[in-house]
Amino acid sequence: MSTAVATAAPPRTPLLQRLSQPRPLILLLLLMWLPLMAQVMAGNYLGPLRNIIMLPGIPAAVILYVLAFRAWRESWVATLGLTLVFFWILVALSAPFLPLLDPNKPIAPFTLPFTEKRDVFFWLGTDLKGRDMLARTLWGCQRVLVWGVTATAVAYVVGTLFGLLAGYLSGWWDEIISFVANVFLSFPVMVLFIVILNYLGPSGFNIVIAVTFASAPAIMRIVRGLTLDIKTRDYVFAAQTRGESPLYIMLVELLPNARGPIIVDACLRLGYTTVAITTLTFLGLGLQPPDPDWGLMIKEAAKTAMLFKFSYMLIIPALSVSSLILGFNLMADGLREMSLRD
């Protein structure tokens, strides 16, 4: 009897606190992220399932937003960034369920924003082929988000691994890894992108590879520096005197303590990657038509938006990209601000 009361009694706050534990957090992140990834990377194979799998992602994203907002409420910069980022994540997840026109269906070309044509009211007008700008903008965030985050994550895994190796093992490992990284860093980023994508051909997966080549060396340098500092700590000596393997020391003793600066840098780098993907798509080297994408929209608009009257075709997707990048950057700023405080 008393146990029943006890289980019913806890109010809402402990639930949120319980959700803030690492395991529920990872579960929520996966719930939110996997459908988006499946949608963008393998949407054609999913058939009718492709929209249904998005459903559990929406509440997961809302819960994550509430949790993160609570945790970061001390920094208004971080919460503002968070709000911008989660706005686009929620849009990406709920795009199939919003009352939007088909983003790929031409209706009426060159319709200005806030005008009605053929009995349809166009909030943001239509593009040169007559497709609804609002639908295209909202659908377009899916690809930028998924490819941007995936590319950054892969670059981080590779960069962190090499950084740990170079920093902890030092000696020849450090010499070789640092030398290769220096070679990559000496290329202008855009040249590197263009060379790799011209060689591999334009596609989302190849963007991931290109971003990894361009970002991993810089990430490796950051992680290497952090590792060099942390490996002189006594707890690392303690692990060494226990005879722990280098892999255990790198992953369990070193990596968790380097996470602060890494997370801040990752947020900043998400912004860079988003810019890079949009630029590549604009150059025709990235994601391919017809599915909506911000970079693609800017590219298509650039040809026809010479007239000031039609500049909205360019400004709307450009502003969307900027808001997402601003979101990532503000998050990075806020996280750094909070990490400095304690």
Binding site: E74, D234, Y235, A238, T241, R242, G243, V252, N257, R341
Partner: protein
């Protein structure tokens, strides 16, 4: 009475910091009076507000600190109402400050001469550059720096830490300040270098008549340098008085607790056990009502001590002696400290660890062009040279030496993080010297564990306390079942006297002393045979030091573990070690039982080291031997005897040409020195207790 105006007077000073958590009172109702030519000491543990007082006197409070109430009067003028312009003229010319870290006080990009010349040029408008240069050179000579002209042309990183601190003191004195503030000026320095600086500080006050405020956590240093003393606890001054009064006739339980928790070089663990102060310093926003020391005090009376804030009361019959204790008249201040546990001397077992002719050389590869031309591409650093000693079961062997003497390198070789160049280190008939830790049998690894120095570094901040101890148990296969592992961790937490719910805590939620206890629990989790403790308490506060030392000894006695105690603190070594090995520049200068090492015959280095230890006991008289210069670099050690460059008893060329022979006295007492054994036997003891013959406590 016509008192001259005090140089500095603090009256009813209240200082608060404003943080996210709100107002935090850092200093409460603080009074201080410094007369011309007087040296006043401020003692207290970390977080008691002593540095805040210093910063307030300099008016460097920062953005979030504010003087809430009270006055700071400098020569009768209230500093709290002065303008920024006036303060700027006072600082540096009238009030000067010397900080703990000398390197941080000097501009690394400017030559020392330039930095010194600036002081008179800025503060005295009429001063020409040539005059300023003259004065700077003179002042460098006054602080006893050799070759002042060369120092003027050096950058700060080109001179040693002790010399840097002398330069900082010279800079502070250049404008002939009326008041000199010294905030832990020797804490970052080695003992023998510290002794030189302390000597200098005493000379300065005699020569220039400068008033001084000396802030330190070390009671021994205060005794050597100051006339009056203020003891602070949790933001309040708890006892004020003449040094002799406070040291010999203390009237506050906290002061008494402090004295009982520091080891004195005249006593060992069997004669006078340390009595730690229980509990911890309260956080500034969690101070108890009434007397702040109440919860930790043995004389606490509920309803009286926790009723209202305790005012400063003057001690009857002692002139100028005040204490913040309501029960001044009731406590029996002369009572002998009740020994908590009178430890019996442990029976030593068979030899566990034997080090034979151990050498560790490092090669430095010089890749510069000059080295290539000269053909000297590899230089050798002799970190350890011919170490020979052994340790028996349940024995505590202390390895004593200053920085750069090779004691940490030795620990690394022993633990397998480095391999020896030559010689052997044998643990239970297995050679350790040449097997790195990865190649050692897991059992051998578990038999040798370490307690580290820095409590803030010893635990991984990302993992829970329990998880880190459990990892050791699992790694060494002491237990394998998860429930049993957890049970064992709980037992270990009990042993180190920490509550069991610390299992789930993160290291950042623990205080320094608590972290060090976890470090001890972790070291003993694998049932080691030998534990190497590298300065395990040197980073802790005095009252916590005693408790952690006591704990380490208890566990050692219970498990009959061999303890290698690496330390520079001779008082502590005298207290807990059974045998002592004194190292200098990678070689063993002297070794023997604790009694033998602390009594003549001495190695000249041991003698200097003993005389350099600050002792917080007025009844002790000691010889003053101040070593010249600094410890030479191990890259370029002096030929012959390594100590010859600083040795006050140097015989002559023989010391520079030949390595000293080992003189043997009695059972295992060895001294590496050229001085003839008979002359060594003639030495007088360095430390003499005044009541040595009459003292009943040492006999009992």
């Amino acid at each position: 009475m016509s008192d001259p105006t005090p140089v500095l007077e603090c009256e009813g000073l209240h200082i608060s910091y404003f943080t996210r958590a709100g107002e935090i009172p850092a200093v409460i109702d603080f009074n201080l009076k410094v007369m011309p030519g007087e040296a006043v000491g401020i003692v207290g543990e970390s977080g008691c507000g002593k540095s805040t007082v210093a910063l307030a006197i300099m008016q460097y409070m920062g953005k979030n600190g504010r003087i809430m109430k009270g006055q700071i009067r400098f020569k009768g003028r209230d500093m709290t109402t002065m303008s920024q312009e006036e303060l700027r003229h006072l600082r540096g010319s009238q009030i000067a400050m010397v900080y703990q870290e000398p390197m941080a006080s000097l501009n690394p990009a400017m030559k020392i001469g330039r930095q010194l010349i600036e002081v008179p040029l800025y503060h005295e408008p009429g001063c020409s550059e040539a005059q300023a240069y003259e004065r700077a050179v003179q002042m460098l000579a006054d602080v006893r720096l050799p070759d002042p002209k060369r120092i003027m042309e050096s950058f700060p990183h080109q001179i040693s830490g002790g010399q840097q601190q002398r330069v900082v003191i010279a800079m502070a004195l250049l404008s002939h300040p009326a008041l000199l503030l010294l905030d832990e000026p020797t804490t970052a320095l080695d003992v023998t270098v510290e002794a030189g600086i302390v000597q200098l500080i005493k000379e300065i006050s005699a020569k220039f008549g400068t008033s001084m405020i000396y802030i330190s956590h070390n009671l021994g240093l205060i005794l050597e340098t100051c006339d009056r003393i203020t003891v602070m606890y949790s933001g309040e001054a708890v006892e004020v008085g003449k040094v002799e009064d406070v040291f010999d006739r203390m009237r506050h339980p906290y002061t008494r607790g402090l004295f009982n928790s520091i080891p004195l070089p005249g006593a060992d663990k069997h004669a006078r056990p340390l009595v730690p102060i229980r509990g911890q310093l309260p956080l500034p926003h969690q101070r108890p009502k009434g007397c702040y020391f109440g919860p930790r005090c043995d004389y606490f009376q509920a309803g009286r001590c926790d009723a209202a804030p305790v005012p400063m009361l003057s001690v009857p019959e002692h002139q100028g002696h005040d204490s913040r204790c309501l029960r001044i008249d009731e406590i029996d201040w002369g009572a002998k400290v009740a020994a908590v546990t009178t430890a019996d001397k442990a029976e030593f077992g068979p030899t566990v660890l034997r080090v034979e002719n151990l050498k560790k050389y490092y090669d430095i590869h010089d890749t510069s062009l000059m080295a290539m031309i000269k053909g000297q591409r590899v230089r050798t650093v002799k970190a350890n040279e011919k170490l020979d000693f052994s340790a028996r079961e349940a024995e505590t062997v202390a390895i004593v030496g200053e920085s750069g003497c090779g004691k940490s390198t030795f620990a690394k070789v022993l633990l397998g993080l480095e391999t020896a160049t030559e010689g052997r280190a044998v643990l239970d008939n297995q050679d350790l010297g040449h097997t790195p830790v990865q190649q050692r049998h897991p059992q051998v690894v578990s038999h040798l564990q370490m307690v580290f120095q820095n409590p803030f570094d010893t635990l991984n901040p990302s993992h829970s306390v329990g998880g880190q101890i459990a990892r050791v148990i699992r790694k060494f296969g002491v237990e394998n079942d998860p429930d049993k592992i957890k049970e064992r961790v709980m037992q270990l937490l009990d042993i180190v006297k920490l509550p069991r719910d610390f299992y789930f805590r993160r290291p950042r939620q623990l205080s320094g002393g608590q972290k060090q206890r976890v470090g001890i629990a972790r070291a003993f989790a694998g049932n080691p045979r030998v534990v190497v403790a590298d300065e395990p308490v040197s980073a802790l506060d005095v009252s916590v030091q005693a408790a952690v030392t006591q704990l380490l000894m208890e566990i050692q006695r219970e498990n009959r573990t061999t303890l290698l105690f690496i330390s520079h603190d001779l008082s502590l070594v005298r207290y807990l070690a059974d045998r002592v090995v004194v190292m200098y520049l990678g070689t063993i200068a002297e070794q023997g039982t604790t009694e033998e090492v602390f009594a003549p015959p001495y190695h000249p280095y041991t003698e200097a080291l003993l005389s350099a230890v600050p002792i917080a006991d007025t009844s002790v008289t000691k010889k003053h031997i101040v070593l010249e210069g600094d410890i030479p670099s191990a890259v370029n050690p002096p030929p012959g005897c390594p100590f010859q460059t600083r040795c006050p008893r140097k015989l002559g060329p023989i010391c520079e040409q030949q390595e000293p022979p080992i003189r043997r006295f009695g059972d295992g007492h060895e001294i590496a020195c050229h001085i003839a054994p008979d002359d060594l036997l003639q030495m007088e003891p360095v430390i003499v207790l005044a009541d040595d013959q009459a003292s009943p406590s040492s006999a009992a």
